[in-house]
Symmetry: C2
Subunit: 119 residues, 2 copies
DNA sequence: TTTTTGAGATTACAAGTGTAAACTGAAATC
DNA sequence: GATTTCAGTTTACACTTGTAATCTCAAAAA
């Protein structure tokens, strides 16, 4: 059985902070963010409920929060979804579209080739 | 004011048929699809309501449905959303990630460069 | 003309999302 | 000890999505 945890757009900023900083208490998370505290509490709660974030007991009555879904897992899932929706799952079609829409330059492509060759 | 019409995943198959075929009646749309008819009717209705599809009066009591949002508009919007969510809006970061995850080969990149040079 | 058909309209309903207020109870402060 | 603070919990609520059944009524078929 897969878990297939989805991260809502509104929840993403919290995940990004946890990915960047590691393990934090909720006040530490929130001080890195803008937005209504009540709302942020709800979002963090939902992330814990759906298993995207784990909460470990801490001294006093606070928890230590850690991302349970890695950023790469999130990105992979978003990539698949995007490719499927917009390009029938074809990376090639996507790249072609980026070139046509001039979102990529020849130079950038060359840089990538160089990187691959350097290993 | 922007319109900012979003197309839900479940509605996308209908859009794809309209993008491909142009203007169709609902029976023509549905004969190109699988799935429960009632559900499809609802989805088409919602697309009309949100302005992603226009319905023009036809003979008898049927309409002619046409996509009001172009496929390129849809793709652009999905691309922006994907890039923003996963790579802070940076195409470069995305390409780098694709290379690292081996979703692109050197050969494919070279092909793209060739295409750009040919114009 | 009566009956059937079926496109479109209406209604339903659970999940999930975005947003936020109110409540609780232990810990910190007075 | 009394009071304040605030992390965490509960409740709220409208909107969107996924999925589908039911109702309506003109057109087509019998």
């Amino acid at each position: 059985m897969k878990k297939n945890i989805t991260i809502a757009d509104s929840e993403l900023p919290i995940m990004k902070i946890l990915w960047e900083k590691g393990t934090l208490t909720s006040p530490q998370i929130f001080e890195n963010m803008h937005g209504n505290k009540s709302t942020l509490k709800t979002l963090l709660q939902r992330l814990v409920t759906k298993g995207a974030v784990t909460a470990k007991e801490n001294t006093s009555r606070t928890y230590l929060y850690t991302a349970a879904v890695t950023q790469q897992e999130y990105i992979n899932s978003e990539r698949k979804s995007f490719l499927q929706k917009a390009f029938d799952g074809s990376t090639k079609k996507m790249l072609l579209n980026f070139v046509q829409e001039e979102k990529i330059t020849k130079e950038e492509l060359q840089q990538l080739i160089d990187m691959i060759e350097e290993g």
